[in-house]
Structure formats: C-alpha cells, structure tokens
C-alpha cells in the first residue's frame, strides 16, 4: 500500500510546478499595479474574467497542498515519521489538513470576497 505515499509525492511536484506558474501570474499582477491606475484597470478586466476563477482556484489548491506537504517533507528531514506506517498516516493528515485549508481560503476568496484577485 505505497500508492498513498506515491500519490502525495507526485502531487507535491505537480503543485510545485503549478505554483511556479502562479508566481508568473503574481509578478504580472505586480507589474500591472506598477504600471499605474490605467494599466492596472486594463489588466483587471483580464484578471477579472470568469475563467480566471478557475486559475485562482487551482492556485489555492496548489498553494495549500504544497505548503502542508512541504512541512511534512521538512519533518522527514529531521529524521522523524519515516516508518512506513507513519508515512502512510502522515499522507492522510496532509490530505485532510490541506483540503481544510483549501476550503477555508476558497470560502474567504469566493464566498466572502466575491471578488477576483
């Protein structure tokens, strides 16, 4: 039963690469703000497109997962939780905690905010 740990490892890479793309989006956004009110307003139309909500949702999923799974990796680096049963259990903890975090941030952004970043 190593599928659980295998999947968490692959998903960590996948979300990492996703966050690299998210970083491009973040820098683009910062550049449009640096371009002044007109440039920011022009970019806001693009960033506010309904389809962009999917991108933001993907960024939230990737961020939450990579953060929690990354902390698991840091714990491993201290030599803890390396036994097979422990790593299976921590894989579940990572999924549960990161999904909870996704729901929390998703709720703040899409329900409370109702705005697009």
């Amino acid at each position: 039963m190593s599928r659980y740990t295998l999947a968490t490892s692959i998903f960590n890479r996948l979300t990492g690469v996703g966050l690299s793309l998210g970083l491009v989006l973040l820098v683009y956004w910062l550049c449009t703000v640096a371009g002044g009110p007109l440039a920011a307003a022009r970019a806001a139309r693009l960033l506010g497109l309904p389809a962009m909500k999917l991108v933001y949702a993907a960024c939230i999923v990737a961020f939450c997962y990579h953060l929690v799974a990354g902390i698991r990796h840091l714990l491993w680096d201290t030599g803890r939780l390396l036994e097979r049963a422990q790593s299976r259990r921590s894989a579940r903890v990572v999924v549960v905690v990161s999904v909870a975090l996704m729901l929390l941030i998703g709720y703040c952004v899409f329900v409370l905010g109702g705005r697009s970043p």
């Binding site: 890479r13 973040l26 640096a34 002044g36 806001a44 941030i105 905010g113």
Partner: protein, 128 residues
C-alpha cells in the same frame, strides 16, 4: 582508491559536489517560505478590495514592500531549485535538458527582477 574508470574521469562524469548545496538551499528556502507565504495570503485576504488604490497603498505600507521582495526572492529561488529537479528527472536528452535548464534559470532571474522592480516602483514612487 577511486572506483571511477579512467574514461569517466576524463569525461568529468560523476558527482559535481554540488548536491548538498542544492539540497540545503531547497530546505532553507522552504523554511523561509512557510511564514512568508502565510503572511502574503493572510494580508491579501485582509485587504478590503483588490482595486488599484487599495493594492498600491498596501504596497507602500510599513513592512509590506520588504516582505514582498523577500517573498519574491525566496519563492523564485525555491521555484528554480524545484523546477530544475523536475527537468533533470523528466528530460532525458542532454542537449534539450541543458537548453531547458538554461532558459528556466534566465526566466527565474527575470521573474525575480521584474517582481522586485515592480514593488520598488510602487513603494518608492510617490502618489501617481
């Protein structure tokens, strides 16, 4: 006694002795990113709106520009280290791998420089 064959030695194949540095930097940037990334998300969520005036005011306020620059620097560094491993693992052809790694290094430096420049422009430039 070295276990490497003479041919390997001539070709310079084998450990470049840089693996430890890469490993360590990947961990150090991870540790730094935990508080930086949480700060970034929480402070974005705390903004009442994401229109130009609010965001520009936020970028000028107190420690925000400093933390943003740290976040951009550490995040691009971490991204560069991570993406590098992915390319090394999944691009088998040496030529394509070298070209991809070179392009990705340039892109990451460009990303960091553009981000830092954008933050400084807003933070240090007066009201538009």
């Amino acid at each position: 006694m070295s276990l490497r064959t003479p041919l390997r030695r001539v070709l310079g194949a084998g450990s470049a002795k840089e693996g430890v540095h890469h490993w360590l930097m990947q961990r150090l940037t991870s540790v730094a990113l935990v508080p930086l990334a949480i700060w970034f998300v929480v402070s974005l969520l705390a903004l009442p709106s994401l229109d130009y005036t609010t965001v520009a005011a936020w970028e000028r306020h107190g420690p925000t520009p400093l933390l943003l620059i740290l976040l951009l620097g550490v995040a691009t560094w971490h991204s560069q280290l991570g993406v590098r491993v992915v390319v090394e693992d999944y691009v088998p052809a040496a030529g394509a791998r070298t070209v991809t790694l070179t392009l990705l290094s340039f892109l990451h430096v460009l990303l960091a420089a553009a981000g830092v420049f954008a933050v400084l422009k807003v933070a240090l430039g007066g009201p538009p």
